[in-house]
């Protein structure tokens, strides 16, 4: 069987890639994608821990399903806000949203 640590390393790498995407990319859609990657890394973590440590209770699975639900809700609101920004300013780049600063 594949050891638990492999899953955790995969999740950590995925999380790092997602975080890098959020911090480094300018396009807001790419930033939202980065956030999704981070949430998926969490899901891998949760499922791996559940399967290897406490397969008899379902907490890990339930947690994962909740993360799905929330991620979907968050992206729905996020895309709505992207559209409302696009309609006003015709841009999807985070660094062009600079009306509010210091």
């Amino acid at each position: 069987m594949i050891p638990l640590s492999w899953y955790l390393i995969l999740a950590a790498i995925l999380f790092g890639v997602g975080l890098f995407g959020v911090l480094a990319r300018k396009n807001v859609i790419a930033i939202l994608l980065g956030i999704e990657l981070m949430l998926n890394a969490v899901n891998i973590n949760l499922l791996a821990f559940w399967r290897y440590l406490t397969p008899e209770d379902v907490t890990g699975q339930i947690f994962t399903v909740m993360v799905f639900v929330v991620a979907a809700a968050e992206v729905a609101v996020g895309l709505a806000l992207v559209i409302s920004v696009w309609r006003r300013r015709a841009t999807a780049y985070a660094d062009e949203l600079d009306l509010l600063k210091w």
Partner: protein, 473 residues
């Protein structure tokens, strides 16, 4: 009864559904009634909560399979959120782009539901769900002025930073679950005794990122000024009070229940000192009153963190007292900003020149509110600050209390600066009397009286917060 314990939350869901129907049935010209209906509903739920949901002494706080904790601390916080939401719905009256739209009030109710659950969550799954239920409506509310460039930008930035920090927090949750095999917050501490301290510390830092974002703690305070400035002012008021209070409710419960004090006390103390100093220093330069209040609210988060860093029962007590005072004071402060914006169409501090000549009562109320924010006796802000500083000294954090006192002096400067403009500066046209919407007037009077009561008749409030703090130790 377990069902009575969550009566306020059930009522909030039902009330949100009723609001959707009312919004559909109301004719176009009568939509302004929605604010009053929302207020009435939230006030009713507030009364129901006091009558039926007060936790009994000695009962088992874990309810619904440990998903929720039914203790006095959670109960007090729930009342704080309900009161904040009710007052916010009245402050939204006349704000054209939001007050006539049912969805604004529905989002407000759902966000309050999330905060209520945050304050009493006893399980990581519940906690995560509650935080998102509170946050996602707030993203939409901050961006709800679709015709306004600043509002859409504010909503969008709030969502990006909020979603990112909550993903980081969630990674921390998944590690906490992995180290212990349980998601029950109160079972975690026991399981953690056998975990080496480095991974534990990592999960603490990850979790602090998410909570720190909610309370605008350094280094996660950068979103607050942008979002506060861009969001519709009633939403800003709600964000800076109820939403921040919810963050502190969660922070207090999780830190005290899960992690050993030695791990986080010094981190929190240092962050508290940096947060308040940064907030106060940057606030000095602000020209826009909403931005100034945003930095002031960062500074206040620093003071509240100081109480939490004490890690004692008295610390939690003074934290709660500070939060209640701050809720009343800051809602009043944003109330004045709203009232004046309707009149002058500007949030620049310069435009407040000559306000005392236009309406002496309004200026007088503003004087009370800003002096309370600055911590002048006999107002609530003073007593709350005394409590917070003495909690820090009790816990041996004398250096932190000294920094806090110095900060209070810096803070006073920019609050007095606004009052100077209001009372001493003049501008053409400042002899025209100002009209105040009576509803706003009532909210402001209630808040200002509350601020004065918190500073003069403190015994009943103090008893309440002391009991609430005792319930989690």
């Amino acid at each position: 009864m377990e069902i009575l314990a969550i009566l306020p939350e059930i009522s909030l869901v039902v009330f949100a559904a009723i609001l959707i129907i009312i919004d559909l049935r109301l004719p176009k010209g009568r939509k302004e009634l929605l604010a009053y209906i929302t207020f009435a509903g939230l006030a009713l739920i507030f009364v129901l909560a006091i009558l039926f949901s007060r936790p009994a002494d000695g009962g088992d706080p874990a309810i619904w399979f440990g998903m929720l904790r039914h203790d006095l601390l959670g109960f007090t916080f729930r009342l704080v959120f309900l009161a904040g939401a009710a007052l916010t719905s009245l402050l939204a009256v006349e704000w054209d782009s939001i007050s006539k739209r049912g969805e604004f009030y529905i989002l407000l109710v759902f966000s309050t539901l999330g905060m209520n659950l945050m304050a009493s969550a006893g399980n990581l799954v519940m906690l995560f769900l509650a935080i998102e239920t509170a946050s996602i409506p707030l993203y939409a509310m901050a961006g709800s002025m679709k015709e306004d460039d600043k509002s859409t930008e504010a909503g969008f930035k709030y969502l990006l930073f909020g979603a990112m920090t909550s993903a980081v927090m969630l990674y921390g949750f998944s590690l906490m679950y992995g180290f212990s095999g349980t998601a029950n917050i109160y079972a975690l501490a026991e399981a953690f005794t056998s975990v080496p301290s480095t991974p534990l510390f990592a999960s603490l830092v990850l979790v602090l990122v998410g909570f720190g974002f909610k309370i605008s703690m350094f280094p996660l305070q950068f979103w607050a000024p942008d979002v506060y400035e861009g969001a519709p002012t009633p939403v800003t008021g709600f964000l800076s009070t109820a939403s921040k209070a919810a963050g502190f409710a969660v922070l207090a419960r999780v830190l005290l229940a899960v992690f050993p004090l030695a791990d986080w006390q010094i981190i929190l103390a240092v962050l508290s000192a940096v947060t308040m100093t940064l907030g106060n220093l940057v606030a000095l330069w602000q020209k826009n009153i909403k931005r100034m209040l945003a930095y002031s609210s960062i500074a206040h988060a620093g003071y509240i963190l100081m109480a939490l860093a004490a890690g004692t029962e008295f610390g939690v007590n003074s934290m709660l007292y500070y939060i209640i005072t701050y809720l009343l004071t800051n809602l009043a402060a944003f109330g004045f900003v709203i009232v004046y914006y309707h009149q002058a169409g500007s949030d620049e501090i310069e435009s407040y020149a000559g306000m005392s000549r236009r309406n002496a009562w309004l200026a007088f109320g503003m004087l009370f509110t800003f002096l309370s924010l600055g911590g002048i006796p006999p107002l609530g802000g003073f007593f709350a600050k005394v409590l917070v500083f003495s909690a820090a000294i009790d816990a041996g954090l004398v250096w932190l209390a000294v920094i806090g006192v110095l900060n209070a002096v810096i803070g006073l400067y920019y609050y007095l600066n606004v009052l100077k403009v209001v009372y001493l500066k003049r501008q053409p046209g400042d002899e025209i009397p100002m009209r105040i919407n009576p509803v706003h007037g009532i909210v402001l009077v209630v808040c200002v009286i509350g601020v004065v009561l918190m500073g003069t008749l403190m015994a009943p409030w103090f008893r309440l917060t002391a009991e609430a703090a005792r319930s989690i130790f």
